[in-house]
Symmetry: C2
Subunit: 361 residues, 2 copies
Amino acid sequence: VTSSGLRAKGKSNLNASITVALDAMGGDFAPEMVVAGADLARVRYPNVKYIFFGDQSRIEPLLREHKVLQPLVTIHHTDEAIANDAKPSVALRSGRQSSMRLAIDAVASGQADCVVSAGNTGALMAMAKMVLKTLPGIHRPAIASFIPTAIGESVMLDLGANIECDAENLVQFAIMGAIFARTVLGIPEPTIGLLNVGAEQLKGNDVVKAAAEALRSQPIPGRFHGFIEGNDIPGGAVDVIVTDGFTGNIALKLAEGMGKLYSGFLQRSFRSSIMATLGYLLARSAFSKLRERVDPRRYNGGMFLGLSGVCVKSHGGIDAFGFANAIGVAVDMAVQGFNERISEELLRLAPAPAPAVQLQQ
Amino acid sequence: VTSSGLRAKGKSNLNASITVALDAMGGDFAPEMVVAGADLARVRYPNVKYIFFGDQSRIEPLLREHKVLQPLVTIHHTDEAIANDAKPSVALRSGRQSSMRLAIDAVASGQADCVVSAGNTGALMAMAKMVLKTLPGIHRPAIASFIPTAIGESVMLDLGANIECDAENLVQFAIMGAIFARTVLGIPEPTIGLLNVGAEQLKGNDVVKAAAEALRSQPIPGRFHGFIEGNDIPGGAVDVIVTDGFTGNIALKLAEGMGKLYSGFLQRSFRSSIMATLGYLLARSAFSKLRERVDPRRYNGGMFLGLSGVCVKSHGGIDAFGFANAIGVAVDMAVQGFNERISEELLRLAPAPAPAVQLQQ
């Protein structure tokens, strides 16, 4: 499998008809931003169809305001929705008729090709794991996301699905992240970095050392760059940043928080004097480009990797523009056959073992 | 012990004569920046004396260029220096005559009140631990540093001394960090946050959950705020951020890297058009304030907390201004009796156990 082949194959599928299952009730501004987000996504993916799971009486009036979207949408009514503070275990047990669960079910049944929800992350992961199941050969699914860098963007995983990880988990995250970078971002030979406290081989805990050893010695999609440190993330040192869910979650939220801190500092500077405000007015168009470049809505979408079905979590507080980006990445994953590439790669890396010798009874 | 008492006591010591042991050969720009850094620190602390450990033939000519500093300095000559890439174990064994080791020895012998080095972090921690020993009652020393926030600055620890930590370690880091915030930053009731993947009590691994439980139930200096998330760090949610050395190291370097990323973006924006450049010229003085506010040299200094002696690690690539700040924090810790406060607090929190019953032979 050459990477150029992968990209071409992906492109040839772009006209395939894709159906997206949407949890219309998930997120702080649902269902309004779900409908408006789907309408924005429609511009980029005119052939995509949508199934909205949620309260028909609230969705229908919204669709009437989005006339071009309307014929592409089916509504599947349900009164139930998963609360933002619901425990995953409770959501699993008593949320079988929830908008979130029914949207996932639609992917499992083949009615939809992917699902997007801005609802409760823990509940979404628990339900997606139970309903879609983990891909054969994958031990644990992971959550991946984009992170802006000096030279573009990187993919980082895991972002919180697995608070504790062993070396084998990290190796599988590396493989899944690399295939994501290949198939969705179109990077033929993605570089992979393992997040650590230093770049030297001796640094870190036993888990990262064992994972690095495995990534150095076994064939993987892309190229293992070795350990990277925290400052290498914004530097854009690698395409794929691999870490456990504890560190990854803290790192992603810290990076987002630092972005907000600096834009706050910037605003304060421009407002600090009349000269500075005049300066801002002159530099405004340059800054609107910068704002666009680091807009967190552009990087919205937590991709659940390692499940037998495409599931993307949107930020809960996102608007329609951000939600459209989450839909976009889900569609890309479905169109480019992300899960099929993972399965192919796992098969290539670890051919099926010979049938076990039957023990004589 | 009231906090106002602590501050007052600290202040009354400000005229005490303090001697700083300096590793004159540590850091990328040593010994030039060490001499220039001490000269800058002299302005703020005119009564402080210095012992320079290192190559006399290189230090003496530099001192001749800093005439006011010269009478405050003693040179202790040594030919040896610890290489930046030296393994801590090798530095311990064969670095007994190194500038770094002799500077630490000077604190152990009482010749100096604190030591500052911009050399090899691992070697400095290993030597400081062996020579100065851990404070009675403290299981593991930690590295703490400042981090700029939206509302000021916070202290974060551990930053890499302990890659793996148990709950008891995290609790002790919280206590040491809080006493640092009290005595050196002058915050009477510092708030303490435990870094985690979510704010809810159920989130996280067993170690952070057990540490949070202990911090909630036992008396501590300051106030335990609970779990904080990555984005709470730049937000300035707490005065003291507690985490293990793996996560802390990655978080600190990531925060520094994000700072560089944004200042790079800013520069590029201002250079992107003539209008933007004109805007920059108008807003320049506002931006020089911002640059000062987030200048990493202001936050230079990795404080080794939990040792029977004050030891501060400066960034290796720092200039004289940054090095002077590292000297400043070491002097503050010595003057304010940071280690004495830690010992007092440990005694107060866990009174000495009754003498163990002698086992009959």
